[in-house]
Protein backbone atom coordinates (compact mmCIF):
# COMPACT_ATOMS: atom_id res chain seq x y z
CA UNK A 1 0.00 0.00 0.00
CA UNK A 2 2.83 2.34 0.89
CA UNK A 3 4.65 2.00 -2.42
CA UNK A 4 1.41 2.43 -4.31
CA UNK A 5 0.56 5.47 -2.20
CA UNK A 6 3.93 6.93 -3.04
CA UNK A 7 3.52 6.16 -6.73
CA UNK A 8 0.01 7.57 -6.98
CA UNK A 9 1.14 10.64 -5.10
CA UNK A 10 4.03 11.19 -7.47
CA UNK A 11 1.77 10.95 -10.49
CA UNK A 12 -0.85 13.25 -8.96
CA UNK A 13 1.67 15.81 -7.75
CA UNK A 14 3.45 15.88 -11.09
CA UNK A 15 0.17 16.47 -12.93
CA UNK A 16 -0.98 19.14 -10.46
CA UNK A 17 2.24 21.03 -10.81
CA UNK A 18 2.55 20.65 -14.58
CA UNK A 19 -1.03 21.75 -15.18
CA UNK A 20 -0.58 25.03 -13.33
CA UNK A 21 -2.68 24.28 -10.25
CA UNK A 22 0.18 25.41 -8.00
CA UNK A 23 -0.09 28.87 -9.44
CA UNK A 24 -1.98 31.26 -7.15
CA UNK A 25 -2.98 33.32 -10.20
CA UNK A 26 -4.57 30.34 -11.96
CA UNK A 27 -6.71 29.50 -8.92
CA UNK A 28 -7.46 33.14 -8.19
CA UNK A 29 -8.49 33.87 -11.76
CA UNK A 30 -10.60 30.73 -11.69
CA UNK A 31 -12.41 31.86 -8.56
CA UNK A 32 -12.96 35.25 -10.21
CA UNK A 33 -14.61 33.23 -12.97
CA UNK A 34 -12.12 34.57 -15.50
CA UNK A 35 -10.07 31.42 -16.13
CA UNK A 36 -11.65 28.05 -16.73
CA UNK A 37 -8.49 25.94 -16.36
CA UNK A 38 -9.05 24.48 -12.91
CA UNK A 39 -12.73 23.79 -13.61
CA UNK A 40 -11.84 22.06 -16.86
CA UNK A 41 -9.25 19.95 -15.11
CA UNK A 42 -11.59 18.96 -12.30
CA UNK A 43 -14.49 18.42 -14.67
CA UNK A 44 -12.59 16.19 -17.06
CA UNK A 45 -11.17 14.20 -14.14
CA UNK A 46 -14.66 13.74 -12.70
CA UNK A 47 -15.93 12.55 -16.08
CA UNK A 48 -13.21 9.93 -16.34
CA UNK A 49 -13.69 8.75 -12.76
CA UNK A 50 -17.47 8.64 -13.03
CA UNK A 51 -17.36 6.42 -16.12
CA UNK A 52 -14.60 4.26 -14.68
CA UNK A 53 -16.31 3.71 -11.33
CA UNK A 54 -19.59 2.95 -13.06
CA UNK A 55 -17.84 0.26 -15.09
CA UNK A 56 -15.94 -1.15 -12.12
CA UNK A 57 -19.07 -1.36 -9.97
CA UNK A 58 -21.08 -2.84 -12.79
CA UNK A 59 -18.60 -5.67 -13.17
CA UNK A 60 -18.32 -6.09 -9.39
CA UNK A 61 -14.60 -5.40 -9.54
CA UNK A 62 -12.47 -7.05 -6.87
CA UNK A 63 -9.49 -4.94 -5.94
CA UNK A 64 -6.16 -6.80 -5.78
CA UNK A 65 -5.39 -5.48 -2.30
CA UNK A 66 -8.62 -4.82 -0.45
CA UNK A 67 -11.31 -7.15 -1.72
CA UNK A 68 -14.53 -6.20 -3.44
CA UNK A 69 -14.71 -2.58 -4.51
CA UNK A 70 -17.06 -0.74 -2.17
CA UNK A 71 -17.25 2.96 -2.90
CA UNK A 72 -18.32 4.92 0.15
CA UNK A 73 -21.11 7.37 -0.43
CA UNK A 74 -21.78 9.60 2.52
CA UNK A 75 -25.16 11.05 3.50
CA UNK A 76 -25.64 14.78 3.82
CA UNK A 77 -24.67 16.28 7.14
CA UNK A 78 -24.44 19.81 8.58
CA UNK A 79 -20.67 19.44 8.58
CA UNK A 80 -20.72 19.44 4.80
CA UNK A 81 -21.88 23.03 4.94
CA UNK A 82 -20.08 24.31 8.01
CA UNK A 83 -16.73 22.78 7.21
CA UNK A 84 -17.03 23.64 3.54
CA UNK A 85 -17.59 27.34 4.27
CA UNK A 86 -14.44 27.55 6.37
CA UNK A 87 -12.49 25.53 3.84
CA UNK A 88 -13.74 27.78 1.05
CA UNK A 89 -12.52 30.86 2.91
CA UNK A 90 -9.08 29.34 3.37
CA UNK A 91 -8.94 28.24 -0.25
CA UNK A 92 -9.87 31.72 -1.45
CA UNK A 93 -7.24 33.35 0.79
CA UNK A 94 -4.36 31.06 -0.12
CA UNK A 95 -5.33 29.80 -3.55
CA UNK A 96 -3.93 26.53 -2.32
CA UNK A 97 -5.09 23.30 -0.73
CA UNK A 98 -3.67 20.18 0.99
CA UNK A 99 -2.32 18.67 -2.22
CA UNK A 100 -1.12 21.73 -4.10
CA UNK A 101 0.74 23.11 -1.10
CA UNK A 102 2.63 19.83 -0.86
CA UNK A 103 3.48 19.95 -4.55
CA UNK A 104 4.65 23.54 -4.01
CA UNK A 105 6.99 22.50 -1.26
CA UNK A 106 8.32 19.70 -3.44
CA UNK A 107 9.03 22.28 -6.12
CA UNK A 108 11.21 24.15 -3.67
CA UNK A 109 8.71 26.92 -2.96
CA UNK A 110 8.92 27.68 0.73
CA UNK A 111 5.43 29.19 0.87
CA UNK A 112 4.06 25.69 0.39
CA UNK A 113 5.51 24.73 3.74
CA UNK A 114 3.77 27.67 5.43
CA UNK A 115 0.39 26.66 4.02
CA UNK A 116 1.02 23.04 5.00
CA UNK A 117 1.94 24.09 8.54
CA UNK A 118 -1.29 26.08 8.71
CA UNK A 119 -3.28 23.08 7.49
CA UNK A 120 -1.68 20.82 10.09
CA UNK A 121 -2.49 23.34 12.81
CA UNK A 122 -6.06 23.64 11.56
CA UNK A 123 -6.51 19.87 11.59
CA UNK A 124 -4.99 19.63 15.05
CA UNK A 125 -7.20 22.38 16.45
CA UNK A 126 -10.28 20.76 14.94
CA UNK A 127 -9.40 17.33 16.27
CA UNK A 128 -9.19 18.80 19.76
CA UNK A 129 -12.35 20.89 19.45
CA UNK A 130 -15.93 20.16 20.40
CA UNK A 131 -16.96 19.37 16.84
CA UNK A 132 -14.64 16.45 16.60
CA UNK A 133 -15.41 12.86 17.49
CA UNK A 134 -11.76 11.71 17.61
Amino acid sequence: MKTLGLGFGMAFGFLLAGAGLMNYNVIHEGLLLRNATMFLIMGSAVAVIAVGIWLLERFRWVTPLQGLLKVKRIPIDKKHINGAVIFGIGWAITGSCPATSAAMLGSGIGYGAVVMAGILLGVLIFDKSKHSHT
Partner: protein, 153 residues
Amino acid sequence: MYPIPWYVAGPLMGLVVLATYAVMNRPLGALGSYAQIVDFLRRKPVKESWRIWYLVGVMLGGAGAKWLFGVPAEVASYGKLGELIGNPALLALLLLGGGCIGYGARWMGGCTYGHGMCGVSVRSPGSLLATATFMMTAIAVTLLVHWITGGLL
Protein backbone atom coordinates in the same frame (compact mmCIF):
# COMPACT_ATOMS: atom_id res chain seq x y z
CA MET B 1 0.25 28.30 -21.20
CA TYR B 2 1.17 25.40 -18.98
CA PRO B 3 3.27 22.40 -19.97
CA ILE B 4 0.40 19.98 -19.36
CA PRO B 5 -2.89 21.15 -20.92
CA TRP B 6 -6.11 20.59 -18.98
CA TYR B 7 -7.40 17.92 -21.33
CA VAL B 8 -4.32 15.85 -20.56
CA ALA B 9 -3.94 16.63 -16.85
CA GLY B 10 -7.60 16.23 -15.94
CA PRO B 11 -8.19 12.79 -17.48
CA LEU B 12 -4.82 11.54 -16.25
CA MET B 13 -5.55 12.72 -12.71
CA GLY B 14 -8.88 10.95 -13.05
CA LEU B 15 -7.03 7.77 -14.02
CA VAL B 16 -4.81 8.04 -10.94
CA VAL B 17 -7.91 8.28 -8.75
CA LEU B 18 -9.49 5.35 -10.61
CA ALA B 19 -6.35 3.31 -10.10
CA THR B 20 -6.44 4.05 -6.38
CA TYR B 21 -10.01 2.78 -6.18
CA ALA B 22 -9.35 -0.19 -8.45
CA VAL B 23 -6.23 -1.39 -6.68
CA MET B 24 -6.71 -0.26 -3.07
CA ASN B 25 -10.44 0.33 -2.70
CA ARG B 26 -9.73 3.78 -1.32
CA PRO B 27 -10.53 7.33 -2.39
CA LEU B 28 -7.68 9.74 -2.97
CA GLY B 29 -7.48 13.01 -1.11
CA ALA B 30 -4.57 14.74 0.57
CA LEU B 31 -6.48 15.73 3.70
CA GLY B 32 -6.25 12.18 4.96
CA SER B 33 -2.47 12.49 4.90
CA TYR B 34 -2.52 15.50 7.23
CA ALA B 35 -4.98 13.74 9.52
CA GLN B 36 -2.62 10.77 9.77
CA ILE B 37 0.31 13.07 10.54
CA VAL B 38 -1.67 14.79 13.29
CA ASP B 39 -2.65 11.39 14.70
CA PHE B 40 1.03 10.47 14.72
CA LEU B 41 1.95 13.72 16.49
CA ARG B 42 -0.76 13.13 19.07
CA ARG B 43 0.62 9.63 19.63
CA LYS B 44 -2.54 8.04 18.36
CA PRO B 45 -2.52 4.93 16.17
CA VAL B 46 -1.79 5.71 12.52
CA LYS B 47 -4.27 3.56 10.67
CA GLU B 48 -3.59 4.58 7.09
CA SER B 49 0.12 5.26 6.92
CA TRP B 50 0.07 4.85 3.14
CA ARG B 51 -1.54 8.28 3.00
CA ILE B 52 1.59 9.83 4.45
CA TRP B 53 3.57 8.14 1.69
CA TYR B 54 1.01 9.57 -0.73
CA LEU B 55 1.80 13.09 0.49
CA VAL B 56 5.52 12.44 0.17
CA GLY B 57 4.77 11.28 -3.36
CA VAL B 58 2.91 14.50 -4.15
CA MET B 59 5.96 16.47 -3.02
CA LEU B 60 8.22 14.33 -5.18
CA GLY B 61 5.84 14.82 -8.08
CA GLY B 62 6.16 18.55 -7.63
CA ALA B 63 9.94 18.17 -7.63
CA GLY B 64 9.70 16.14 -10.82
CA ALA B 65 7.64 18.82 -12.50
CA LYS B 66 10.19 21.41 -11.47
CA TRP B 67 12.99 19.27 -12.87
CA LEU B 68 11.22 18.82 -16.20
CA PHE B 69 9.46 22.14 -16.65
CA GLY B 70 11.02 24.55 -14.20
CA VAL B 71 8.96 26.81 -11.94
CA PRO B 72 7.52 30.05 -13.36
CA ALA B 73 8.63 33.11 -11.42
CA GLU B 74 5.07 34.10 -10.58
CA VAL B 75 4.46 30.75 -8.94
CA ALA B 76 7.57 31.07 -6.78
CA SER B 77 6.61 34.57 -5.70
CA TYR B 78 2.98 33.62 -4.99
CA GLY B 79 1.45 35.50 -7.90
CA LYS B 80 -0.75 38.51 -7.37
CA LEU B 81 -1.00 37.96 -3.63
CA GLY B 82 2.77 37.97 -3.30
CA GLU B 83 2.98 41.16 -5.36
CA LEU B 84 0.56 43.00 -3.11
CA ILE B 85 1.58 41.64 0.27
CA GLY B 86 5.20 41.03 1.09
CA ASN B 87 6.67 38.95 3.87
CA PRO B 88 6.10 38.68 6.76
CA ALA B 89 2.42 39.64 6.36
CA LEU B 90 2.11 37.14 3.50
CA LEU B 91 3.45 34.36 5.70
CA ALA B 92 0.93 35.20 8.42
CA LEU B 93 -1.90 35.25 5.91
CA LEU B 94 -0.88 31.91 4.41
CA LEU B 95 -0.67 30.39 7.86
CA LEU B 96 -4.12 31.70 8.76
CA GLY B 97 -5.56 30.60 5.42
CA GLY B 98 -3.95 27.21 5.85
CA GLY B 99 -5.55 26.97 9.27
CA CYS B 100 -8.96 27.58 7.72
CA ILE B 101 -8.24 24.95 5.07
CA GLY B 102 -7.18 22.38 7.65
CA TYR B 103 -9.99 23.11 10.09
CA GLY B 104 -12.69 23.27 7.43
CA ALA B 105 -11.47 20.24 5.51
CA ARG B 106 -11.28 18.13 8.64
CA TRP B 107 -14.78 19.26 9.61
CA MET B 108 -16.27 18.42 6.25
CA GLY B 109 -14.29 15.23 6.07
CA GLY B 110 -12.35 15.83 2.87
CA CYS B 111 -10.56 18.34 0.67
CA THR B 112 -10.69 19.72 -2.85
CA TYR B 113 -9.95 16.39 -4.51
CA GLY B 114 -11.36 14.09 -1.88
CA HIS B 115 -14.80 15.67 -2.13
CA GLY B 116 -14.55 17.59 -5.38
CA MET B 117 -13.07 14.82 -7.48
CA CYS B 118 -13.73 11.48 -5.80
CA GLY B 119 -16.95 12.24 -3.98
CA VAL B 120 -18.58 14.11 -6.85
CA SER B 121 -17.61 11.42 -9.38
CA VAL B 122 -19.33 8.71 -7.38
CA ARG B 123 -22.29 10.97 -6.65
CA SER B 124 -21.84 10.90 -2.90
CA PRO B 125 -24.52 13.28 -1.54
CA GLY B 126 -22.29 14.67 1.20
CA SER B 127 -19.49 15.36 -1.25
CA LEU B 128 -21.80 17.05 -3.73
CA LEU B 129 -23.07 19.40 -1.03
CA ALA B 130 -19.60 20.02 0.38
CA THR B 131 -18.11 20.71 -3.04
CA ALA B 132 -20.90 23.05 -4.09
CA THR B 133 -20.59 24.88 -0.76
CA PHE B 134 -16.83 25.35 -0.74
CA MET B 135 -16.84 26.35 -4.40
CA MET B 136 -19.53 28.98 -3.87
CA THR B 137 -17.88 30.23 -0.70
CA ALA B 138 -14.46 30.53 -2.32
CA ILE B 139 -15.92 32.32 -5.33
CA ALA B 140 -17.96 34.67 -3.16
CA VAL B 141 -14.99 35.53 -0.94
CA THR B 142 -12.76 36.07 -3.96
CA LEU B 143 -15.27 38.35 -5.67
CA LEU B 144 -15.79 40.26 -2.43
CA VAL B 145 -12.06 40.79 -1.96
CA HIS B 146 -11.81 41.80 -5.60
CA TRP B 147 -14.49 44.43 -5.05
CA ILE B 148 -13.07 45.67 -1.76
CA THR B 149 -9.55 46.05 -3.15
CA GLY B 150 -10.88 47.86 -6.21
CA GLY B 151 -9.68 45.10 -8.48
CA LEU B 152 -6.14 44.98 -7.12
CA LEU B 153 -6.57 41.39 -5.95
